[in-house]
Amino acid sequence: MRNCRPFLVAAVLMTFFVVAGSTIRADGEKTFTGEIADSQCALGVHSLDRSHKTMIKMGNAGKTSADCTRYCVKERGGKYVLQTKTDVYKLDKQELAEKNAGLKVKVTGTLDPKTNVILIGTIEAIPEK
């Protein structure tokens, strides 16, 4: 039995690391693909495109999605968010999002499901085809 003890300890440790590892992976980083938008345009019932168009038509929000996004954040109290096909996520590092305003991006980060905030690791702009 004494001879078995090191193997038992090793087995327990291995089990612990495997379980811990899978938990970390389950709660870990994911990649989200979408557009960096402003909360005002992204949360409307219309598509993001149509929301930007409505704002641009009003005359002060510039000419492009990027202009509109920045305008809505800087002048209208909005926040940078990531809009995917189905969801709108809040973003923790607003300064990183600002650099990619209006662009299609891949955001790698961890989602806090309670607050719906992505804790950003990296943001990578997707080149337009």
Partner: protein
């Protein structure tokens, strides 16, 4: 002896009643915030009864109850909000913490605290409610 006891009790009750009368209005005033009734209307305008150009004036850190009635203009948010109400510092458009409301149709009360820093502020709508959405603003002044 019995008469003296009764007189004493009566005096005590009178003193108690007078004290209550003196302090209860102050207690009520302390527990109730000033109520400001605002209409976030279907024409994408904030309105306050009796004011042509609505302005809210408050003291630094004053506790306010905003009683807001929201009516849908043309469009709304996915969560059903028909208007928004966010307070920005006028000089740099920096949002004030705790002042970011989404308004569903109907009348709702919001307990708010005025900014501590005196100055000019602006309330803006954050829901793209109609083509007139950008006109949906209101002054907010914190007096020194």
């Amino acid at each position: 002896m019995i008469k003296t006891n009764l007189q004493l009790k009566l005096k005590c009750w009178i003193v108690f009643a007078v004290t209550l009368c003196c302090f209860s209005p102050q207690l009520c005033a302390q527990s109730q915030h000033r109520i400001i009734e605002i209409l976030a209307d279907r024409d994408s305008r904030y309105k306050i009864a009796g004011q042509k150009q609505p302005v809210i004036t408050a003291k630094p850190g004053e506790e306010l109850t905003l009683r807001i009635t929201a009516r849908k203009a043309q469009t709304q948010n996915r969560d059903g909000s028909v208007h928004g109400l966010t307070l920005l510092r006028a000089k740099d458009k920096k949002p004030v913490d705790g002042w970011d409301l989404l308004l569903k149709p109907g009348t709702h009360d919001f307990e708010m605290i005025a900014p501590a820093e005196p100055g000019e502020y602006v309330i803006v709508c954050t829901v793209i409610c109609s083509p007139d959405h950008e006109m949906m603003n209101m002054r907010f002044v914190v007096e020194p």
